[in-house]
Subunit: 212 residues, 2 copies
């Protein structure tokens, strides 16, 4: 009887080893040999799943984006738009040392994307999706609360609108705070306190406290 | 007659070559040989100025921090606290392709700082200085305008205060937007429009338009 092989699990195992190599030696030091050693498998096994080093690196980028989306999808059942927005905005902030390593790998991909269009496409796709999502959530959260407490218009504005710019500001704020937590210039609790104050200032106070 | 050698210029020339190597091949591929080739000088010349590869890499990090501080110092004469704050917050946003490369090198340093305490120290020092500066400017800008238009308290709060958290939010926002511009998910003009809206929302409208 043939063994049942979980191919998705094997690919993921290889991608985890790739991330470890990126973290320890940098993206430019990635090779099938280095990843095989880190994974404790043969080079042939890796070649079975990935036709080139570039394909493996792209898959690592797509999976890091996917992992962030999965984490965001862990919003509790019955959460309203405001709490969901809080989860989306806070998701990049690393709360544990393993997550800091994940963020470091992400920064290695960001740095590389300047010279690698294929990586840039994966990253900008994720960024655009998050922005669309955050804009819809911000509209819904404001509508739920009966309008913005700060007097800004609600609902009718489209692309390039005030609401879209504000959603973008919240997402960019989460990323900028994550950067500070990663380098150790800020505690993750302080980063969440800054975000809670920003939500409150936008008439969305109390959204995040349940999850802080 | 001995030649007059500008040692500071020679060190800077070597650091520029280091940045080119980091951008093209990654931080983990830095060697005296690679930097000498990029600079078009001998390895001996580099060893004359830097005792180790690590020292050169640290100097590159310190100079990138210094370059950001110099750029911020180019605030026009007679600029008030509000315009100065605008310059500080917008300074990481790359407006030209060469600046995008500079930001990419910066991200390589950020990624590496997770495993390199010496780099982390340089970066957190710069981050803390900017935060202290932004907090003072925000206080001064609010005082100049006779209080916050959003009803938040002004002046008397200290460390860990609302004003400090707000200053931190503005700086983090600038960094998060810079990240989007770097990967090509946002134009630098759109990034500045998001920031202008955020300044306006905080009762600091019109600060930035002179410099946009």
């Amino acid at each position: 009887m043939p063994r049942i092989v979980d191919h998705a699990a094997r690919r993921t195992e290889i991608v985890y080893a790739l991330w470890a190599v990126i973290h320890e030696k940098g993206l430019d030091s990635v090779s099938f040999r280095a990843v095989a050693e880190a994974a404790g498998v043969s080079i042939g096994r890796i070649q079975h799943y990935f036709t080139s080093k570039e394909e493996l690196i792209r898959e690592g980028c797509a999976q890091i984006v996917g992992a962030a989306e999965d984490q965001y999808a862990e919003v509790p059942d019955g959460a309203g738009p405001c709490l969901t927005l809080w989860h989306l905005v806070t998701s990049p902030i690393p709360s544990t040392p393993p997550r800091r390593i994940g963020v470091a790998v992400w920064y290695a991909y960001l740095a590389k994307s300047v010279s690698e269009p294929a990586l840039r496409e994966i990253i900008t796709g994720a960024v655009d999706t998050a922005c669309t999502e955050a804009t819809a959530l911000l509209h819904a959260a404001r509508a739920e609360r009966g309008g913005g407490a700060d007097g800004s218009e609600v609902g009718a504005d489209g692309a390039g609108s005030r609401t879209e710019r504000e959603a973008l500001a919240l997402l960019a704020l989460g990323d900028g705070l994550a950067q500070r937590v990663m380098v150790g210039a800020l505690d993750s609790d302080d980063a969440l306190a800054v975000l809670a104050q920003e939500f409150e200032r936008r008439g969305l106070g109390g959204c995040g406290e349940r999850s802080v």
